[in-house]
């Protein structure tokens, strides 16, 4: 065990997997940096510092800087993955999925199905997502609902350094395409990371706190918000069962349903706008499969149906917060069937 930032856990995991398996390659914009520049390739390793040093270690055939051409990045990664490589593609901001969505949605996700199960495409598409940096409408979005909706993709959203390591190791070794979502506001979050080989299988949620009153579902940055809210709620004697989904596809339905069957109340926290979101997805599963256990309406704390605004005050108003969670939880606890 050692204390690390999520960003470090990610870099070290990629490094370990590249060392372990020669077929692993990585592609993205400025993941080396300085190619073709007078200063020469740098050790900077991308604007997120999640590939620092890898180019020097594994060379230009395995750590590949690309032009600004996201469709070609995904295509190059998936074509390599169809033909024997394991490819890690980095999309600098998840918001850029708009320029390469066909390659993800209609190609990568569907190859195996369309080709009669004969192909494998072991690709990990790492994307940096989320608000909190006043980066406005095109550099702050959460895109997990969009990719969770796509059959053929697995979707991973780590919220701790240990999970980042365990889930990314699994993602790189997984034979199915994986979307690996890294929240930009969590990169510097620190925590204990197990040494040596560490894999977390997909579809197993993390039980963050135990409580009997409300089931609180969250992912990514929302997990920490839920924890803060739960502390405050505990002071009022309200016990929260917080579940960090870790992967939204596959989904640990069992963990969710077990919890709701116990608490009878569900509150979902989701960083994206409300419509056709992960929040509604989870709500619908529970309203269908654990209806009899529900003692109150299902509450959701989400962003509003708006783009992400720029100004600090507006972004704060946009994002869910511990306070908003507390308010919703309190409303939930006070519900009485009419």
């Amino acid at each position: 065990m050692a204390i690390k930032m999520i960003r470090e856990a990610i870099l070290e995991t990629i490094d370990a997997e590249m060392a372990r398996d020669e077929s692993v390659i990585m592609l993205g914009e400025d993941i080396v940096g300085g190619n073709g520049a007078p200063g020469g390739p740098e050790a900077i390793g991308g604007i997120w510092s999640t590939s620092t040093g890898l180019w020097a270690k594994y060379g230009p055939d395995r750590v590949i800087d690309t032009p600004i051409s996201e469709s070609a990045i995904i295509g190059a990664a998936s074509g390599a993955a169809l033909t024997g490589k394991r490819a890690i593609a980095e999309i600098m901001f998840a918001d850029f999925i708009g320029v390469c969505m066909d390659q993800i949605w209609n190609q990568v996700a569907k190859f195996r199905y369309m080709f009669g199960g004969k192909s494998t495409c072991p690709i990990v598409i790492r994307m940096v997502y989320g608000a909190g940096f006043n980066a406005a409408a095109q550099h702050s979005q959460s895109i997990h609902a969009m990719v969770t909706a796509m059959p053929g993709l697995k979707v991973v959203m780590p919220s701790t350094p240990a999970d980042a390591k365990g889930l990314l190791t699994q993602a790189i070794r997984d034979d199915d395409p994986v979307i690996f979502l890294e929240h930009k506001a969590l990169y510097a979050v620190k925590g204990d990371v197990p040494d040596g080989e560490y894999l977390i299988p997909f579809g197993h949620a993390r039980h963050v706190t135990q409580g009997d009153d409300i089931t609180l579902l969250a992912t990514g940055m929302m997990v920490g918000f839920a924890e803060k809210a739960a502390k405050q709620l505990a002071e009022d004697g309200i016990g929260c069962d917080i579940i960090d989904l870790r992967t939204t596809s596959p989904l640990d339905e069992e963990a969710i349903l077990d919890s709701v069957e116990r608490t009878g109340r569900l509150l979902i926290v989701d960083e994206s706008p409300p419509r056709c979101s992960l929040a509604t997805d989870l709500s619908a599963i529970v309203a269908n499969k654990a209806f009899a256990s529900l003692r109150a309406p299902i509450e959701m704390v989400t962003a509003p149906h708006t783009p992400v605004p720029f100004a600090r005050e507006l972004e704060s108003a946009y994002l869910p917060s511990p306070d908003k969670i507390v308010t919703a939880a309190t409303r939930l606890m006070s519900y009485k069937r009419g």
């Binding site: 990045i73 390599a80 033909t83």
Partner: protein
């Protein structure tokens, strides 16, 4: 023409197989036997075969919505292809892909593709794998697909990453109903591709020997330099864009003329018989053999097992 008798017979057999496959599909579709949207390749056989005769299983190709010819040329099983089009569980893709997604990764055929322009970026990735083993990767595209952003990105990416990808543009003069002179703003698809920093080559895409000899040079160049290249093949599509297309955009007599003057099978027969490399009987024998194969394919396809409802859930993931 340095091809052996066997090689000549094989090349002809491949082209003839594509033609017979497509002609037969045309009829079966008219009878309502085959579902979905189907784009026939007849007329362009010299392109697929002239390219693929140079390739082995570790060379990769990726195709378009008009993919049957590329499949056959790259070595996909013809009976399994027919079964696929008939929607059988025994089909090449278990009846899940159909015409627009027909593929066999095991023979290096990375799929027909329903999204125009989607293939070229994927071919760049296959080129990364091919480069390591001294092989090449081919992106087949049409004269319409060359205007899609993804195709342009792929060309630049291939030049930047120095991968042996060959962008083969089969210019059949139409994207759906629209003429190439309208949709391609540049005077030349090939010169525009060349401006991305690639060597360019051109051949008559209705003449197997022209394509074959040009591709020998291209592939030699790409295998040794490990660089990309672009090729334009001038060719003809005999049927409509899709089955059902009334083809009003054709000029008067155009269809008759191209079938008369620009038929790769006729041209092949004339050249090899004139040069006394093969005689008419050799070719007739292949024709008969191919027709029998296609008959068998259709018969087997009609009799083949249909999928069951629960099969819809298979193969979305390897594990989930």
């Amino acid at each position: 023409m340095q091809l052996s008798r066997d090689a000549l017979l094989k090349a002809y057999r491949q082209m003839k197989t594509i033609r017979a496959f497509e002609n037969r599909l045309h009829d079966e579709i008219a009878l309502g036997e085959i579902a979905g949207f189907t784009h026939l390749y007849a007329g362009q056989e010299a392109c697929a075969v002239g390219v693929c005769e140079h390739l082995g299983p570790k060379d990769y190709i990726i195709s378009t919505h008009r993919g049957h010819g590329h499949c056959i040329a790259k070595g996909c099983d013809v009976v399994d292809m027919m079964k696929e089009l008939y929607g059988s569980r025994e089909g090449l893709c278990k009846g899940r892909g159909g015409s627009m997604h027909i593929a066999d990764v095991n023979v290096g055929m990375l799929g027909a593709n329903g999204i125009v322009g989607a293939g070229a970026p994927i071919a760049v990735g296959a080129g990364i794998s091919a480069k390591a083993t001294g092989h090449v990767s081919i992106a087949f595209s049409g004269d319409g697909a060359c205007n899609q952003g993804t195709t342009f990105e792929a060309m630049n990416m291939a030049v930047v990453l120095k991968v042996p990808v060959i962008f083969v543009y089969e210019n059949n003069h139409y994207s759906e109903h629209t003429g190439v002179d309208y949709a391609v703003g540049a005077d030349s698809i090939l010169d525009r591709a060349g401006a991305f920093g690639m060597k360019t080559f051109r051949a008559d895409g209705t003449d197997f020997f022209a394509v074959y000899e040009t591709m020998r040079e291209v592939i030699e160049y790409c295998r040794t330099t490990k660089l990309p290249a672009a090729v334009e093949l001038d060719t003809e599509r005999y049927f409509g864009h899709f089955e059902g297309d009334p083809q009003r955009y054709r000029g008067p007599g155009e269809l008759d003329r191209i079938r008369e003057e620009r038929d790769c099978l006729k041209t092949f027969r004339e050249k090899v018989t004139e040069a006394k490399l093969l005689d008419g009987a050799d070719i007739d024998a292949v024709d008969a053999e191919v027709e029998a194969l296609i008959d068998r394919a259709v018969a087997e396809a009609k009799a083949a097992e249909k999928p069951k409802p629960e099969h819809v859930l298979e193969d979305v993931y390897i594990s989930y």
